[in-house]
């Protein structure tokens, strides 16, 4: 009985942590994005321009 109760609590705790994580990530994403956009910055990672990569034909279609 005790074991069942323990497993139940554990399961709900794991689900709760996952749910809280998803919510907090979504919130952070929006706030961070907005702050960066307001400062005219790109919200993602910036990669350096590499002339060799440019000269290679794009692997993308079109």
């Amino acid at each position: 009985m005790k074991r069942r109760k323990f497993l139940k609590i554990l399961l709900f705790t794991v689900i709760g942590i996952c749910f809280a994580n998803i919510l907090s990530l979504a919130e952070k994403y929006t706030k961070k994005t907005i702050r960066l956009i307001k400062n005219n910055k790109y919200p993602g990672r910036i990669k350096p321009i590499n002339e060799e990569t440019i000269l290679k034909e794009g692997s993308w279609s079109g």
Binding site: P43, I49, G58, G62
Partner: protein, 323 residues
């Protein structure tokens, strides 16, 4: 305050702090910000034949750019890693319009191509870059699904010289189910481009069991013939299983050849098969005398005898931009 975006037919109503369906335009304090402006995720020097544009300065190079995000969500998207991702998840270069011009000139590119994802989504960046490119006497081309509203499209047409528009289906039902869009705006865009004098080529990706039946192909070709003209090049492109459509097989060559014959029977003068290497239907033949004018292998030109936009054997005018 909510804002309605008028750029594409989706006309998203965007709440503060949220982005439109394209993930590019964000409402911040009641103003729309184009997040990817000046931040392309792809920069490449491509042969113009890759776009595909077969009647537009053959054998030249196109400086090709794209940003993350797209206003359509095609289940078969070949570039889904960048088109279906939010800008925050896609690394990008810092390249304002002036940098694009500088790079295009440095790499001796005759044209700048706004491609890979969709210039209708990164519209402001396309517009500002194309203005600068025109000042340098170079040309601009768009490779797009044609999901624009008429007003922004006509504004862009002042600076655009060529376009390859993907007419994906001739049925609205498939546009809704597969792409999350509608057919009518795409047909309008094709007609506007012809009206505005932009060089136009059309691509149709032939997908087994969806749009590969003769009746639909005939309907698509007849629409092009009646509304755009017999000289608009049509590219039937081979489908490969991608993204959310891995359950279908690649298009067979016989289906593509059947599509090509239907298009020829419908009266279209320039019909090509794409995404297939080694087929003679990658080459251009004179619609009048049938002689070979431009021989292609993959994206490369082996022979080009078009003189001043005409067939050198019979003098027939060949649709395109040749100088």
């Amino acid at each position: 305050m909510k804002i309605q975006c008028d750029l594409c037919p989706k006309r998203c109503i965007i709440s503060p702090g949220e982005s439109g369906d394209c993930r590019i335009r964000v409402n911040i304090d009641g103003r729309l910000h184009a997040v990817t402006y000046g931040y392309p995720c792809a920069l490449h020097v491509d042969p113009i034949e890759k776009k595909p544009l077969f009647h537009f300065l053959p054998g030249t190079k196109a400086f090709s750019i794209a940003t993350a995000g797209c206003n359509l969500h095609c289940r078969n998207c070949q570039n889904w890693e960048i088109s279906q991702s939010a800008p925050v998840d896609v690394p990008a270069y810092k390249a304002p319009p002036s940098k694009i011009v500088e790079s295009a000139l440095k790499h001796n590119c005759e044209t700048v191509a706004y491609t890979y994802t969709d210039p209708s989504a990164f519209y402001e960046y396309t517009l500002d870059t194309s203005k600068l490119i025109k000042k340098e006497n170079r040309k601009n081309i768009i490779v797009s699904a044609g999901y624009f509203n008429p007003v922004p499209l006509r504004r862009l047409c002042r600076y655009i010289d060529g376009a390859n528009i993907d007419l994906k289906f001739i049925h609205d039902k498939y546009y809704r189910e597969i792409c999350g869009g509608t057919l009518k705006p795409v047909l309008d865009v094709l007609q506007i481009l012809v009206e505005e004098g932009v060089h136009l080529e059309v691509t149709n990706l032939v997908i087994p069991t969806l749009n590969d039946n003769s009746r639909d192909i005939k309907k698509l070709c007849s629409w092009i013939f009646n509304n755009l003209g017999k000289n608009i090049p049509l590219h039937f492109s081979r489908f490969y299983p991608q993204y959310k459509m891995k359950n279908l097989p690649p298009t067979s060559i016989s289906i593509l050849k059947r599509a090509l014959n239907i298009a020829k029977d419908a009266g279209l003068e320039y019909v090509y098969i794409g995404n297939v290497i080694g087929e003679k239907w990658e080459s251009t033949f004179c619609p009048n005398c049938g002689r070979l004018l431009i021989e292609r292998e993959g994206y490369y030109i082996k022979k080009n005898v078009v003189k001043y936009g005409c067939c050198p054997y019979c003098g027939y005018s060949i649709y395109g931009v040749w100088s």
